[in-house]
C-alpha cells in the first residue's frame, strides 16, 4: 500500500433490496485519495455520491469490495473499531449540519474530543481555538438555534476538526446555504486545503469543485469521469455526456 494514499477503494459496492428491486447505489468504485489532496465528487441527485462518502467514513457498510483508510482495511472492521476510526481519523461535515440543538457552539465542537476521552479543559480549549479559526469566537456560547445557516456549518466544520482527523468528509456542505454563507464555507475549505488537510467533498456546487485538486463525476453509482484542476480529463467525458444526455 502506497503510504501517500490515505483512502483507497477497490470494487466498492453498496446495494439495497433484492431481485427486481435491487438498487446499486455504489457500483464497483475504484478510488485513491492521496494525503493532502482535495477531491470533489459531483453528480446528479441519487447517483450514489453521499452513499460513497458514508462508506468511506464508516457510517455505512459496503455490500462488497475493499476499503482502506490510512493503510488499514476498514470494510471488515467491527462496529467498535469503526467508531474508533471515525473518532480519530475522520471528520464529517453534513449538509444538514447535524448539530445538537441543546448544546452551544463550543459544546458541540468539543463533543468529539470528549468522546475520544480528552480532558474536558483541553477539549474546551481546542473548541474555542477552532471556533476562532472559523470566525465564530464571539458566537461560542450561542445555541445552534441562534446561529445562521452559514454559522452552523462553520461550527460543524470546527467540530469535524476537533480530533485533528486524517481526512474530512463533507456531504454537500454548501447545499443548505445562501451564496454569501457558501462563500464563507468555501474559504474555510480552501484554508484547510492549503494547510494540507485531506478533503473529500460531495457537492453540486461548481465553486466548491473548482477549488479541488481533482473532480470525480458519478452516475448511477459509478465513476464516469475524472478531471484534474489542470484541465486534464482522466476519464471518458464522452460516456458521461451520453449518459447525461
Amino acid at each position: 500500500m502506497d503510504a501517500l494514499i490515505l483512502v483507497r477503494a477497490r470494487g466498492l459496492r453498496k446495494e439495497y433490496g433484492k431481485g427486481e428491486g435491487l438498487v446499486r447505489a455504489v457500483h464497483g468504485v475504484d478510488l485513491d485519495v492521496a494525503a493532502g489532496e482535495t477531491l470533489a465528487v459531483m453528480g446528479p441527485s441519487g447517483c450514489g455520491k453521499s452513499t460513497l462518502l458514508h462508506l468511506l467514513g464508516g457510517l455505512d457498510r459496503p455490500s462488497g469490495g475493499e476499503l482502506w483508510l490510512n493503510g488499514r482495511r476498514t470494510d471488515q472492521m467491527g462496529e467498535r473499531a469503526l467508531a474508533r476510526m471515525r473518532r480519530s481519523d475522520v471528520g464529517f461535515v453534513f449538509q444538514a449540519f447535524h448539530l445538537m440543538d441543546e448544546l452551544t457552539a463550543k459544546e458541540n465542537v468539543e463533543l468529539p474530543a470528549l468522546l475520544a476521552g480528552r480532558p474536558p479543559r483541553q477539549a474546551r480549549r481546542r473548541a474555542i481555538e477552532l471556533l476562532g479559526q472559523v470566525g465564530l469566537a464571539e458566537r461560542a456560547d450561542h445555541l445552534p438555534s441562534a446561529l445562521s445557516g452559514g454559522q452552523r456549518q462553520r461550527v460543524a466544520i470546527a467540530r469535524a476538526l476537533a480530533n485533528e482527523p486524517l481526512v474530512v468528509l463533507a456531504d454537500e456542505p454548501t447545499g443548505n446555504l445562501d451564496s454569501a454563507a457558501a462563500l464563507d464555507v468555501l474559504r474555510l475549505f480552501e484554508v484547510l486545503h492549503l494547510s494540507g488537510m485531506t478533503l473529500v467533498i460531495v457537492t453540486h456546487d461548481n465553486r466548491v469543485a473548482s477549488a479541488a485538486d481533482r473532480v470525480i463525476s458519478m452516475r448511477d453509482g459509478a465513476f464516469v469521469d475524472e478531471l484534474l484542476t489542470s484541465g486534464t480529463t482522466t476519464g471518458n467525458l464522452a460516456d458521461f455526456a451520453r449518459i447525461g444526455g
Binding site: E79, R86, L115
Partner: protein, 604 residues
C-alpha cells in the same frame, strides 16, 4: 352531524392503524379499573354472612364482659355482677355468664394463644354456636372456632393441649358473639406472661374443663354474658349507655354491630389495599397513557399538519385526539367493571368463621360512576396537553414534522463533560426531557411502593409481638397485596419499555450523531440505560417510604415492621437492574440501524 362523522371516521381509522398502542392503552386503564371495581365490590361483603351466622346461632345483640386485671380491677371478678343486666330495660333474653380464660394451645406442631369459653353441654337460649362439623362440647372434648381450626389445620378427632390439659377436638363451630380469629381480643383479653404475645383464637370447653385449665395454668378467669334486646337496632345505644360508666369494676358491653364490623376487618383491609392499589395502578396507567400519547403525538405531527392543511380546525384536531382516548377509556372502564365484578367472589368468601354466602358483588351506580370517572380522568389528564399542543402547532411546522427542541441544562452539560462517555451521553439524554424523567421515576416509585408493601407484610408476619399462626387476615392481605403488586409490576414493565422506547426514538438523531462522531454502539446503548437508571434509582428509593406508608395505611393500626435493609437493598438494586435490562432492548434495536440511514432519514 358531518363534523361528528368526520371525528368518528378519523378516530376509528387511527385506532385501526395503531392496534397495538390502542390495546396497550386499553390494558393499562382496564387494569386500574378492575382493581378499583374489586375494591368497591368488597364494600359490605361480610354483612350477609354475618347476618346468616347471627340468625343460625341466635346471636346476641349485646355481649357483656367482666375481665379481671389492670390497676382498678386486680382481683377475681364477680360473675353475679353481670346478672344485674339480665333484667335491664329493653333486655328480652339472656345467657351466661360463662367463665372465660386464656391458655397456650399446642396442636399439629403449632403453638398459638387460645381464648377458652366455658359452656354448658346443653344448648343455650342465646348464642348457641352453630356446628359446621362434629358435636358440641362434652367433658374432655373441645369445639374449635372455624377460622381458628382452619389456621391450625384441625379436624374432628385431633388432639390439642390447652395449658397442661389434653383434649380431643369433637366439633368445629361458628359464632356471631365473638369476632373471628384473630380478632377475638376485640372483646378484651387478659393474657399475662408469654400468652400476651399472641392474638388468640376461640375454643369452647365445658365450664368444668375451662375452670380446670385456668386453675392448672394459674390463668385468670373472666365472665362473658349475652343479651337479646327488644330492639336489636338499638344495641349500639344500649352498649354505649352502659360503657359511659368508667368505673373499673363496671362491665364492658359490645353491640352486635361492632362485632360485625370487626369480622369485616379482613375484607376491609383487602378493600383498602385494593382501592389504594387501584389508585396506584391509575397513576401508573396515567404514566403509560402519557408516554404513549406523547409518543403518538410525536409520530403524528405530520398527520396533524395534513388535517389542518385540508381545512381541519385546531378544535377538530384536539377533539379527534381527545375523543380517541376517551373512547378507549370508556371501553377500558367497561372491561374493568366486568372483570372486577366477575373476580370479586374470589375475595368476598366469608372464610371459615362465618356461614352463608356474600351474595352478588354490590356494584351500584356510584361505583360504576367512580370507576368510569377514574378511567376518563386518566385518559383526559394524559391527553389534554398533547391535544392542546396538536391544536396549537402551526400547519407548516406540523407538515415539516418539527421536533420539540430538547431542554438544555447547562450544569448537566458542564458536569457530564468530566464523566466517562456512557455517563456523559446518558446524563445529557436524561436531561433533554425532564417530564419523561419524572414520569419514569413516578412509574418506578409506584411499583416499588407495591413491592415494599408486600415485603412489609412478610416482615410483619415474621416480627415478634404479633403471633397468630396462619393469620387469615395477613394471609389474605398478603395475597391481595401480591396480586396488586403483580399488576403493578406488569404495568411498570410495560411502562419501562414504553419510556425506553420513547427515549430511544427521541434520542435517535443525537445517538446517531454521537456514533458518527466516534461513540461506539455499546457506549450509546449504555448511555440509554444510564438515562433510565437515574429515574429508576430515584423511584425505587421513593418507593421505600411509599410502600411502608401504604402497608401502614392498609393495616390501620397495629405495628408495622420495616423490612430488613438487605430486602430493601435487593429491591432497589433489582429494580434498577430490570430497568437497565429493559432499556437495552430498544437500544440494541436502535444500534442495528446504520448511522447514515438514521441521519439521512432525519433530514429527509
Amino acid at each position: 352531524m358531518g363534523k361528528l362523522l368526520l371525528v368518528w371516521r378519523l378516530t376509528t381509522k387511527d385506532l385501526r392503524h395503531r392496534p397495538g398502542e390502542a390495546v396497550l392503552l386499553l390494558l393499562a386503564i382496564a387494569t386500574a379499573a378492575t382493581a378499583l371495581t374489586l375494591g368497591m365490590a368488597l364494600h359490605g361483603a361480610t354483612n350477609n354472612p354475618y347476618a346468616a351466622t347471627r340468625a343460625a346461632t341466635n346471636g346476641p345483640d349485646v355481649v357483656v364482659t367482666e375481665i379481671p386485671g389492670g390497676p382498678g380491677n386486680p382481683g377475681p371478678v364477680n360473675a353475679a355482677a353481670l346478672t344485674r343486666l339480665d333484667h335491664a330495660p329493653g333486655v328480652v333474653a339472656h345467657s351466661g355468664p360463662y367463665p372465660v380464660t386464656w391458655a397456650l394451645v399446642r396442636a399439629r406442631g403449632l403453638t398459638a394463644g387460645a381464648e377458652i369459653d366455658g359452656r354448658s353441654s346443653a344448648p343455650s337460649s342465646v348464642d348457641q354456636p352453630k356446628l359446621t362439623s362434629g358435636s358440641w362440647v362434652r367433658p374432655g372434648g373441645a369445639v374449635v372456632e372455624g377460622g381458628f381450626a382452619r389456621a391450625l389445620g384441625l379436624a374432628i378427632g385431633d388432639r390439642i393441649t390447652l395449658g397442661r390439659v389434653s383434649f380431643r377436638v369433637v366439633g368445629i363451630a361458628v359464632t356471631a358473639a365473638i369476632p373471628n380469629y384473630p380478632g377475638v381480643c376485640f372483646l378484651g383479653c387478659e393474657m399475662p406472661g408469654s400468652l400476651g404475645n399472641y392474638n388468640p383464637g376461640l375454643i369452647w370447653l365445658t365450664q368444668t374443663d375451662a375452670e380446670r385449665v385456668a386453675a392448672l395454668s394459674a390463668e385468670p378467669v373472666a365472665y362473658f354474658a349475652d343479651l337479646k334486646l327488644s330492639d336489636p337496632a338499638q344495641a349500639n345505644n344500649f352498649a354505649n349507655a352502659y360503657d359511659a360508666n368508667t368505673s373499673p369494676r363496671a362491665p364492658f358491653l359490645l353491640s352486635w354491630q361492632s362485632i360485625r364490623n370487626e369480622d369485616a376487618t379482613t375484607i376491609s383491609n383487602d378493600q383498602l389495599v385494593l382501592i389504594t392499589g387501584s389508585w396506584l395502578l391509575g397513576l401508573l396507567a396515567l404514566a403509560s397513557v402519557a408516554v404513549l400519547v406523547g409518543g403518538r403525538m410525536a409520530g403524528q405531527t405530520r398527520r396533524v399538519g395534513l388535517v389542518k392543511a385540508v381545512g381541519g380546525t385546531p378544535g377538530l384536531v384536539a377533539t379527534v385526539f381527545l375523543f380517541e382516548h376517551v373512547l378507549l377509556a370508556l371501553c377500558a372502564a367497561g372491561a374493568g367493571l366486568l372483570a372486577g365484578w366477575l373476580t370479586a367472589p374470589l375475595l368476598t368468601g366469608p372464610g371459615a368463621g362465618l356461614v352463608g354466602a356474600p351474595g352478588p358483588p354490590p356494584l351500584g351506580t356510584s361505583a360504576i360512576g367512580l370507576v368510569t370517572a377514574m378511567a376518563l380522568g386518566v385518559a383526559v389528564i394524559a391527553t389534554f396537553v398533547p391535544a392542546i399542543r396538536a391544536a396549537r402547532i402551526s400547519t407548516v411546522s406540523a407538515l415539516g414534522d418539527a421536533v420539540r427542541t430538547p431542554r438544555r441544562r447547562a450544569w448537566v452539560v458542564a458536569f457530564s463533560a468530566r464523566l466517562p462517555v456512557p455517563l456523559l451521553l446518558g446524563l445529557r439524554l436524561a436531561a433533554r426531557r425532564p417530564r419523561r424523567l419524572v414520569l419514569s421515576a413516578l412509574s418506578v416509585a409506584i411499583t416499588a411502593s407495591g413491592i415494599v408493601a408486600v415485603l412489609a407484610v412478610h416482615a410483619t408476619d415474621a416480627s415478634p409481638g404479633f403471633l397468630a399462626p396462619n393469620n387469615p387476615q395477613n394471609l389474605q392481605l398478603d395475597q391481595v397485596t401480591s396480586v396488586i403488586s403483580a399488576m403493578l409490576i406488569i404495568l411498570a414493565v410495560v411502562n419501562a419499555i414504553l419510556i425506553a422506547w420513547a427515549m430511544a426514538l427521541d434520542a435517535r438523531h443525537s445517538s446517531a450523531l454521537a456514533r458518527a462522531l466516534g461513540a461506539t454502539p455499546r457506549q450509546v446503548g449504555t448511555a440509554l440505560s444510564v438515562a433510565q437508571i437515574f429515574p429508576a434509582l430515584a423511584g425505587a428509593l421513593l418507593g421505600i417510604p411509599g410502600g411502608i406508608g401504604l402497608y401502614d395505611a392498609a393495616k390501620h393500626g397495629g405495628s408495622t415492621a420495616v423490612p430488613p435493609v438487605s430486602w430493601l437493598g435487593a429491591m432497589v438494586l433489582g429494580t434498577v437492574l430490570v430497568v437497565a435490562v429493559l432499556t437495552v432492548i430498544p437500544a440494541r434495536i436502535g444500534a442495528r440501524r446504520p448511522v447514515a440511514e438514521i441521519l439521512q432519514a432525519e433530514t429527509a
